[in-house]
Assembly symmetry: C2
Homo-oligomer: 228 residues x 2
DNA sequence: TGTACATCAGTGAACGCGCGTTCACTGATGTAC
DNA sequence: TGTACATCAGTGAACGCGCGTTCACTGATGTAC
């Protein structure tokens, strides 16, 4: 980068036009954007989080990127196409966040707890994207969307399988998965929809995950041994 | 109604215009609708469930009811006003469904199970309304919306308090409430968003509620007594 | 029971807006020779 | 290294649309006397 800049400077005295181009690369508007697809997705997500799904329009995105209204159609079939790409990437990142949160954890139970934290963290950081991922369905079929969703769920199932193999579960992994996923999924919505305030809880992903994990693991019912 | 109709018929021979009015009451368009507010809410909900929130417009509702575009503004301040009314009534009905489902049940544990069924049933019957209730926030403050939401949550807390007083809980009612509400709330979303298919579950409110309740009550972890 | 009048719930035309999408085009880029 | 050309990623004007909201109005309803 730096070297190419200085080499351009060296040509200054032979061609003033090139000088202008190299000194003010921002002001000079290129006919080709170059990374329009990536930029669209990036700014679309920001826009989605800012104004919700109804505030997301292809025209507005184009405007923000200094590009004509037709340009996005070079990269997405239509608006649904962009939304589907957004949701697909969302699932991929959700999966990544769950996996990253597990890093260094030993044992199925701890990994499950950490996965929950990752899940809740993702929802709290990207609430509108989270809602899009789960509450929206494209008119046309988008296989990679379903695949990425399944891949995210697979993280949870895998961790529960480890628990099961270690003899930690009192039931089938899928059965436990129903509760675990429901709980973490529901808590995510409560977190982003201000529903936790009725529980007198502050909206903190880690704390919610910890408390859910504890309750879920031991159960809310008093066991016979505990009865006095 | 019937008497007034026949009395109109009696006037037929003196005034043909009145005959037309009374024989074809449907065709004759009254200047005043009479129950516009109620009709708007009813058809708005149908429209919401049919096409989602983006398919809901005041103009379309007016058109469907054979009324001018300005008419709805006699009954709602703006579109947000109608949505808020829709959501408020949704919470009231959610509360009612949970209470009705409990009817005849004896004991806190059974009442909790039944409440969950009511909750999941509501979500599965009115998915878009359910999403609106939890995922949407009016620009302006609408106190009755929050009140109706709190009232719905109160049903759950009350049942858990009964459980606690009966010595059935291993923890604080609010702590148990966090798990119970999260689980039933999350499962509701999974139910309406087709998320259960990855768990190999058919989307049946009763079955989901039962399985969640069982897992939640006893916990997914193997207790020390169970270890072999 | 009849009449005058205030109030209320409608009308319908109009405003301005932003949207999704298409299309003939143009300028930049990459490739084959 | 230079040239011809296909391909690609943009332009910008245009289409048609439906929306939320306002406003001066009108016809029905309810009330006081």
């Amino acid at each position: 980068m730096y070297t190419s800049f200085t080499s351009n400077v060296n040509t200054v005295y032979t061609d003033p036009a090139i000088k202008l181009q190299s000194i003010m690369p921002v002001a000079r508007k290129a006919y080709h954007h170059g990374e329009l697809r990536e930029s669209l997705l990036k700014i679309a997500e920001a826009q989605l989080e800012k104004d919700g799904p109804s505030g997301l329009s292809l025209r507005k995105l184009g405007r923000k990127l200094g590009v004509s209204p037709g340009a996005p159609y070079r990269h997405f079939e239509d608006k649904d196409g962009l939304l589907a790409a957004l949701a697909t990437r969302g699932f991929q990142r959700l999966r990544t966040m769950m996996l990253d949160a597990q890093e260094g954890a030993v044992g199925g139970k701890e990994r499950l707890r950490r996965s929950g934290i990752g899940y809740l963290r993702f929802a709290s950081q990207h609430p509108e994207l989270f809602r899009l991922m789960f509450g929206w369905m494209p008119a046309r079929d988008v296989p990679e969307l379903y695949e990425s969703g399944d891949a995210a769920f697979a993280v949870l199932v895998e961790v529960l399988t480890v628990c099961h193999e270690d003899g930690l579960l009192s039931q089938d992994p899928l059965e436990a998965g129903l509760l675990a996923w429901s709980a973490v999924h529901g808590a995510s919505f409560l977190l982003i929809d201000d529903g936790l305030k009725v529980c007198d809880m502050k909206p903190d992903a880690e704390e919610v995950a910890d408390r859910l994990h504890a309750s879920m693991w031991s159960g809310i019912g008093r066991s016979r041994a505990q009865e006095s």
